[in-house]
C-alpha cells in the first residue's frame, strides 16, 4: 500500500489542531516541521476534498497551504537488515541472514531475510515463542501462525516436524516475505500464506498448534476463535504483550476453556502457553 504525504505550511499554534482534525480523517501519523506539519495516510483512504475542507475552514484564522505527493512503496528497513546479527535461541536454534555463514553446532538453522516484516528473533517476543516451541510437540502437526511477519515461527515449526503450515498477516510485505522465507528454508511441509486475519480461515480447519505473537488487544478479541480451530490436546502459544497484560490474556484464555501450561518473560515482555483439553 502506497502512502500519501501531505505537507502543510501552517503556524505552530494550528499544527496540533490540524493533527486532531486529520487524525479523524484517517491520517495515521505526523511530523512537525519548521514550516508546519507533514501528515501521512494510506493512498486508499486519502480524500482530497476532505483535506481541502479542513484547510478552507481554518483559512479565515490563519495562513495554511497544503500540497501532497504519493510515496513509493519501499523497504525502509533495508539499512538495518543489511547488517543484522544472527540470533541464537538456547543452543539449538540460530536465526541468520543469507550473508551469515551457517554454524553446524546448531540443530535448527533458520534463514530469514526480513524485508520490513517483523520476526528475526531480535525482539523478546519472537525469542520467547521460539524458546517455547522447542519443548512443544510439532511432529506431524498442522500449525497456524497468526500475524506471521517473516514467517519465522512457522519455519521453526516445520523444522521441528510440522507437516502443514498456515500463515497470515494483515500486512502485504509480511505475506510476500513469509513466502520468500518459506522458499529460502526449503521446507518440506505443505504451506499456505494469505493476507488477512483469522476471520478468513475456513470454519472447521483444525490445527494441532497455534502460534500467536501479536498484541494484547488482538489476542483478547481473537483467542475464542483460535480455540475453535484448535484440536483437542492442541497448544496455543501467545505473545506480543507486556507482563502487565498477562493476567488479562490468561483470564481470557481460561474463561474460554483453555488450560495454562506455563509462561515466561524477558525484558518485561511475556509469553503464555495454553492447552486445549483432550477428549476423554
Amino acid at each position: 500500500m502506497n502512502y500519501i504525504e501531505v505537507a502543510l505550511n501552517v503556524e505552530p499554534d494550528y499544527s496540533e489542531i490540524l493533527v486532531a482534525e486529520l487524525g479523524e480523517l484517517g491520517f495515521e501519523s505526523f511530523v512537525e516541521t519548521d514550516e508546519g506539519l507533514l501528515a501521512y495516510i494510506q493512498e486508499g483512504d486519502f480524500d482530497e476534498t476532505e483535506l481541502q475542507n479542513i484547510v478552507a475552514k481554518y483559512l479565515e484564522l490563519t495562513a495554511i497551504a497544503a500540497t501532497w505527493k504519493s510515496l513509493e512503496r519501499k523497504n525502509w528497513n533495508e539499512e538495518w537488515e543489511k547488517s543484522y546479527e544472527p540470533i541464537e535461541v538456547g543452543n539449538q536454534v540460530r536465526v541468520r541472514a543469507v550473508f551469515h555463514k551457517p554454524d553446524p553446532a546448531f540443530t535448527y538453522d533458520l534463514l530469514i531475510q526480513p524485508k520490513m516484516s517483523f520476526g528475526t528473533g531480535h525482539h523478546e517476543t519472537t525469542w520467547l515463542v521460539m524458546n517455547e516451541q522447542l519443548s512443544l510437540p510439532h511432529q506431524g502437526l498442522a500449525i497456524m501462525d497468526v500475524g506471521c511477519g517473516t514467517g519465522i515461527l512457522a519455519i521453526l515449526g516445520a523444522k521441528l516436524g510440522a507437516v502443514s503450515l498456515l500463515g497470515f498477516d494483515i500486512d502485504e510485505w509480511a505475506v510476500e516475505n513469509t513466502v520468500e522465507n518459506f522458499e529460502m528454508n526449503e521446507l518440506s511441509a505443505e504451506t499456505e500464506v494469505f493476507q488477512g486475519t483469522i476471520s478468513k480461515v475456513p470454519e472447521g480447519k483444525m490445527f494441532g498448534g497455534i502460534l500467536a505473537n501479536i498484541n494484547r488487544n488482538i489476542l483478547l478479541c481473537e483467542i475464542p476463535t483460535y480455540i475453535q480451530h484448535l484440536e483437542p490436546g492442541g497448544w496455543l502459544v501467545t505473545s506480543g504483550f507486556y507482563e502487565v497484560d498477562q493476567p488479562d490474556i490468561e483470564q481470557c484464555a481460561i474463561e474460554n476453556g483453555l488450560k495454562k501450561l506455563r509462561s515466561n518473560t524477558r525484558n518485561q515482555w511475556a509469553t503464555v502457553v495454553f492447552e486445549k483439553a483432550k477428549i476423554e
Partner: protein, 149 residues
Amino acid sequence: MAKEIGGYVKLQVKGGQANPSPPIGPALGSKGLNIMEFCKQFNGRTQDKMGVVLPVVITYYKDKSFDFVIKTPPAAILLLEASKVKTGSAQPNRLKVGSVSWDQVRTIAETKMPDLNCFTIDSAMKMIAGTARSMGITVAGKAPWEENN
C-alpha cells in the same frame, strides 16, 4: 559508560498502530535502526490508547539502539474527546460546534502539564482554552480566576 547519543526523532503516531510505512520507516530506517522493533514496542506500550495520536520522542544511539518516550496526546485531541465532537467547527471563528467546562479544561491542563512550557495550572488552562476557541469549541462559564471579579 553511557551510550553515545546519535540524535532524536520526533513523530506523532496513533496508539497501537505504528507500522513501518512513512514517516516511521524513513525516519528510523535512514538511521539504520530496526523499524519493526520500534513498532512492536510502541504498539505494545499503547494498547490502552488505540487510535489516539501520541507524540513520541525517539533517542537513538551510535550503536543503532534506541529508546523512546511517549508524550501526552495533543490538547486539540483531548478537547475533541471532552466536547464529544468529531471535528472542529466548519467556521471556527463564527460557528461553535461544542463546549467544554472549565473543569474539563483543568483536567486537560493537568494531563498536559508535563509536556507544556507552563509553570502554573492557570497558564496551562489559558493555553488549552485558546486552542479550544481556535477550534470553535466554547469554554462555558467564567474562568476560575475571573470568578471573584
